[in-house]
C-alpha cells in the first residue's frame, strides 16, 4: 500500500519526505517552545498560589506560637482548628504543618510530619521568604510543598509547611502536550495531503505529456491531443505541440530536398554515362571506319580485307557488349520501391555464384544479421549490385581465396560489406574505381561499367557505396542503405 502510494525513488516521495520532515521539525520545535514557556508560567503561578497560602497561614501560626510561649490567651489546639479550616477552604491543600524551632510538631492537618528536605534536622531555613519545591509523594501523587520560616527579628519560632496537590497541574501539562502533538501531526498530515494532491496532478500532467511524446508520429496527419490548461503545464503542452509541428515541417523539407538531390544525381549519372558511352563506342567505330577506309582503298586484296573484317567484327562486338550492359541498366528506368529483405537478396546472389566460386576454390562466407530491418527498393537492381561486387571480388582473387559478405543494422541503416583477400586496389586507382569504363582488366574482359552502374543503383536507393583497400590486404566494398521506416 505504502509502496504503491510512495514509490521509493519517485520525485513525489522525495519531496513529501523532505517537506514532511521539515514541517514536523519546525512545528515540533515551535510547540515545545510554547509548551515549556507555558509550563514555566503555570508552575510559577502555582508557586505564587502556594506562597500566598503559606503566608496567609503564617500570620496566625506565628501569633499562636507567640501566644503559646507567653501563656497568652488563645488556648491549646486553636491553631489545629485553624489549620483544619484552612484545608477545608482550600480543597487543593493536602496538608498544613507547623513545627516549632526544635522541629517538634505543634499543629497540623496532616497526622504525620511529611518528610521534606528542610526538616531533616530541625534546623532553621537559610532564607527569609517561602521556599517551594515539587515532590513525588508516592501514592499521594505529586505535591507542591512550600515552607516558610516564622521569625520576628532574628528570633526563629518555627516553620509552616504547606502541601498543595500538583497532579492537576501535571494533568493540565499532559493535556497541553497531547494537544500540541495532535496539532503537529494534524497540520503536518494536512499539509502533506495537500502537497500529495498537487504533486499527483502535476505528475499526471507530465505523464500525459510523456505519453503524447511517445505517440508522436511525424508521418501521421495530426498531433496527439493534450487537454488545454492555463498554467505552466499548459505552456509546456503548447510548446510540445509547436515543437511537433516544427519537426513535421522540417521533415517535409528534408524529403523534398532529398527528392531533388535524387533527380540531380540521376541526371549527373546519366550525363557521365553518356560521355563514357560516346567515348567508348567511338573507339571501335573509328576502328571500323579505318578498316572500311583501308578496304576501299584496295578491295582486291582479299587477305587484307579478311583481316580488316575480323578487326571490324571485334570492334563491333565490343560496342555491342557496351550497349548490352547499358541496356541491362536502362531496362528499368524507374526502380520499383517495395520493402525487401536484403539478406534474401544476398543469399540468392551467393547461390547463383556458388558454382563459379567452387570452381576457382574461392570460399564464400555469409555473415548475415538475423534482425535486419527491411529496406525499400528494387530487388532486381540490388541483386545486380551484389552480383557486380561478388564477381569483382572473384575476378580479383582469381584462384584460391575467401570472400566474406556481412550484413549489419547500424543507426537506422543496413550496412553490407563485401570483403575479399585478393590483391586489393592500388592506392591511385581507389578514387577512380567507380568511374564508368575504368577497368584494369584486359580489353574484352571487363567494360569498367560494373561499379559505375552499381553506384548509380545504390544512390538511387538513397544509399552510399564506398571502396576500401589495403594494398596486398584485399579489398572491401561497403554498401549502406536506409532502412524502411525512415524512408
Amino acid at each position: 500500500m505504502i509502496r504503491r502510494l510512495l514509490p521509493h525513488d519517485s520525485l513525489r516521495t522525495r519531496i513529501l519526505l523532505a517537506t514532511g520532515a521539515t514541517i514536523t521539525l519546525v512545528m515540533m520545535v515551535v510547540s515545545w517552545g510554547i509548551l515549556l514557556q507555558w509550563r514555566r508560567t503555570v508552575l510559577a503561578k502555582e508557586q505564587d498560589y502556594a506562597h500566598a497560602v503559606v503566608q496567609a497561614f503564617s500570620v496566625n501560626a506565628l501569633e499562636s506560637l507567640i501566644a503559646e510561649e507567653n501563656d497568652l490567651a488563645p488556648g491549646e489546639g486553636s491553631l489545629e482548628g485553624y489549620a483544619a479550616d484552612f484545608v477545608r477552604q482550600n480543597p487543593r491543600l493536602r496538608h498544613i504543618v507547623v513545627v516549632d524551632a526544635d522541629g517538634d510538631l505543634i499543629a497540623g492537618s496532616a497526622g504525620t510530619l511529611p518528610a521534606s528536605p528542610t526538616t531533616n534536622n530541625g534546623g532553621t531555613l537559610a532564607r527569609p521568604g517561602p521556599v517551594s519545591w515539587f515532590r513525588n509523594d508516592g501514592d499521594r501523587g505529586w505535591i507542591l510543598e512550600t515552607e516558610l520560616a516564622l521569625r520576628t527579628g532574628s528570633r526563629h519560632w518555627g516553620r509552616v509547611l504547606v502541601g498543595i496537590e500538583a497532579d492537576s497541574v501535571r494533568r493540565e501539562l499532559l493535556r497541553a502536550f497531547l494537544l500540541l502533538l495532535g496539532l503537529v501531526v494534524a497540520i503536518t498530515g494536512a499539509m502533506l495531503a495537500v502537497l500529495w494532491t498537487l504533486l499527483d496532478r502535476l505528475l499526471r500532467s507530465l505523464r500525459d505529456l510523456v505519453g503524447a511524446m511517445d505517440r508522436l508520429d511525424l508521418g501521421e496527419a495530426g498531433l496527439p491531443e493534450l487537454p488545454p490548461r492555463a498554467d505552466e503545464i499548459g505552456v509546456l503542452f503548447r510548446h510540445f505541440q509547436e515543437m511537433g509541428q516544427r519537426l513535421r515541417r522540417s521533415r517535409r523539407e528534408l524529403l523534398d530536398a532529398r527528392e531533388q538531390v535524387y533527380h540531380a544525381e540521376r541526371l549527373a549519372a546519366a550525363g557521365r554515362l553518356a560521355a563514357g558511352v560516346a567515348h567508348e563506342i567511338n573507339n571501335p567505330i573509328n576502328g571500323v571506319r579505318n578498316c572500311i577506309y583501308a578496304i576501299r582503298r584496295d578491295p582486291t586484296d582479299t587477305a587484307q580485307t579478311l583481316e580488316y573484317l575480323g578487326m571490324m567484327d571485334e570492334g563491333l562486338e565490343r560496342a555491342a557488349a557496351i550497349v548490352k550492359k547499358l541496356l541491362g541498366f536502362a531496362r528499368k528506368q524507374e526502380p520499383a520501391r517495395q520493402p525487401l529483405e536484403l539478406n534474401a537478396a544476398i543469399a540468392s546472389v551467393a547461390r547463383l555464384l556458388s558454382f563459379d566460386c567452387e570452381r576457382r576454390r574461392v570460399r564464400l562466407d555469409l555473415d548475415l544479421a538475423p534482425d535486419l530491418p527491411l529496406v525499400t527498393g528494387d530487388m532486381q537492381l540490388l541483386q545486380d549490385v551484389f552480383t557486380n561486387l561478388l564477381i569483382n571480388a572473384v575476378d580479383a582473387i582469381g584462384q584460391d581465396g575467401a570472400i566474406t559478405v556481412t550484413s549489419r543494422h547500424v543507426d537506422r541503416q543496413v550496412r553490407v560489406t563485401v570483403a575479399d583477400d585478393g590483391p586489393g586496389i592500388r592506392h591511385e586507382d581507389l578514387p577512380r574505381v567507380f568511374d564508368p569504363f575504368f577497368t584494369t582488366k584486359a580489353p574484352g574482359e571487363g567494360t569498367g561499367l560494373g561499379l559505375s552502374i552499381s553506384l548509380g543503383i545504390v544512390e538511387a536507393h538513397g544509399g552510399r557505396i564506398r571502396a576500401g583497400s589495403e594494398p596486398g590486404g584485399g579489398a572491401a566494398f561497403i554498401v549502406t542503405l536506409p532502412t524502411e521506416d525512415v524512408t
Binding site: 521509493h8 525513488d9 490567651a73 534536622n121 515539587f134 520576628t152 527579628g153 501535571r170
Partner: protein, 303 residues
C-alpha cells in the same frame, strides 16, 4: 537506493517519537525547580536565659516586631540569652518581676508612675534624647474646621482617647479637663483606642469631635487636617523597670549594654536605625525622681 531511504524514514519516525517522549518526561517531571537549600542547624544557645518583659497592648506579633531587635542586639553583645516575655497587663508584668520570671520589664510612663513605686519597682533606663531622657507631650487635637477653640468648648462633645493606661489619656482626664472646669460627665462620650494613630484618624474623619494623643504622633499629620487645642507639660518616656533588690550581674549586663548604645557612633547608629521609633536614639539612665511629676499626675497608689 531504496534501503537507505527506508531507513532514513524509519529513523525520522523513531527520532520524532523519542524526542517527544523526552519532552513529555521533562514536562511532567515537576522536580525541584531549585533544590531546596540544605537546612542550617541552629546552634542551640545554651547560655543562661535572661527574660525581659513587655506589656503587650497590641497583637503580640507587633510587640515582637518592635522589641525583638533589641533582644537580638543583647544576644549578640552579651553573655546571656535574652528573651522577651509578653504579658497582657501591668499586674502580670509586676508579678513576673516579683517572681523573678523576668529580670526587667518595659512599662508605660503612666502605669509605672501610678503603680511602680508601691510595688517596689525602680526605673533604670528610658529612651534617650540628646543628653537627657526623651520627653513627650500630650496634645488635644480637633479637626481643622470643628469650631473647637479651647478645652472649654468640649462640653457635650465626643472625645477619642488613647489607651486607658496611657499618659496622654490620663493627662486629659485628670488635668486638662478639670483645669477647664469640666467633668467627664460634661462630655458627650469618651472612647479609648489602643493606637494613638487610630485616635487621629477617627477625629479627622469626624467620628469624634476631639482627641488626645502624643504630640509626635499628631505632628506626623502635617497636612493641615488637624489642629492642636491644648498641650501638656513634658513627661519622660516609658522606663525599663527592675526590682529594687535585684543586683544580679545579668541585670547589670543588660543595663550596661543598653546604655552603651551611643547614636553618635556610626555602628550603633546603623543598628538603632532599624529599631522602633520609641527607642531608636538609645537609652539614658533614669531614677524614681525622673518620674516625680508624673507620679503626682498619676495619683500614685500607695501600698
Amino acid at each position: 537506493m531504496r534501503q537507505p531511504r527506508l531507513w532514513l524514514a524509519l529513523a525520522g519516525v523513531a527520532a520524532f517519537i523519542g524526542l517527544n517522549l523526552l519532552v513529555l518526561v521533562r514536562v511532567l517531571d515537576l522536580g525541584p525547580p531549585q533544590p531546596p537549600r540544605k537546612a542550617e542547624t541552629e546552634n542551640d544557645d545554651t547560655r543562661p536565659v535572661v527574660r525581659v518583659g513587655v506589656i503587650s497592648r497590641y497583637a503580640p506579633r507587633l510587640t515582637y516586631d518592635a522589641y525583638q531587635p533589641v533582644m537580638d542586639y543583647l544576644n549578640a553583645a552579651g553573655t546571656h540569652r535574652y528573651e522577651l516575655k509578653l504579658s497582657t497587663s501591668y499586674e502580670d508584668a509586676a508579678a513576673q518581676l516579683e517572681r523573678g520570671d523576668v529580670s526587667a520589664s518595659f512599662f508605660g510612663a503612666w502605669i509605672y508612675a501610678r503603680v511602680g513605686p508601691a510595688l517596689g519597682l525602680v526605673p533604670v533606663l528610658a529612651p534617650r534624647d540628646g543628653d537627657g531622657v526623651a520627653t513627650a507631650r500630650a496634645v488635644l487635637i480637633t479637626a481643622t474646621g470643628s469650631g473647637i477653640g479651647s478645652v472649654a468648648d468640649l462640653r457635650g462633645r465626643a472625645v477619642a482617647l488613647a489607651s486607658r493606661n496611657s499618659y496622654a489619656a490620663n493627662w486629659f482626664l485628670s488635668e486638662c479637663l478639670p483645669g477647664a472646669g469640666l467633668l467627664v460627665a460634661d462630655l458627650d462620650s469618651v472612647h479609648h483606642y489602643s493606637h494613638h494613630q487610630t485616635v487621629v484618624y477617627r477625629v479627622r474623619d469626624g467620628h469624634h469631635d476631639a482627641g488626645v494623643v502624643k504630640e509626635d504622633v499628631a505632628q506626623r499629620f502635617d497636612d493641615g487636617s488637624i489642629r492642636i487645642v491644648a498641650r501638656s507639660d513634658p513627661y519622660p518616656g516609658p522606663p525599663l523597670v527592675v526590682r529594687g533588690d535585684d543586683d544580679s550581674p545579668a541585670l547589670a549586663e543588660l543595663i550596661a549594654l543598653l546604655l552603651a548604645l551611643d547614636p553618635a557612633e556610626p555602628a550603633a547608629a546603623r543598628l538603632l536605625a532599624g529599631w522602633d521609633n520609641e527607642f531608636n536614639r538609645g537609652f539614658a539612665r533614669v531614677d524614681a525622681a525622673t518620674y516625680a511629676q508624673a507620679r503626682l499626675l498619676a495619683g500614685e497608689v500607695t501600698p
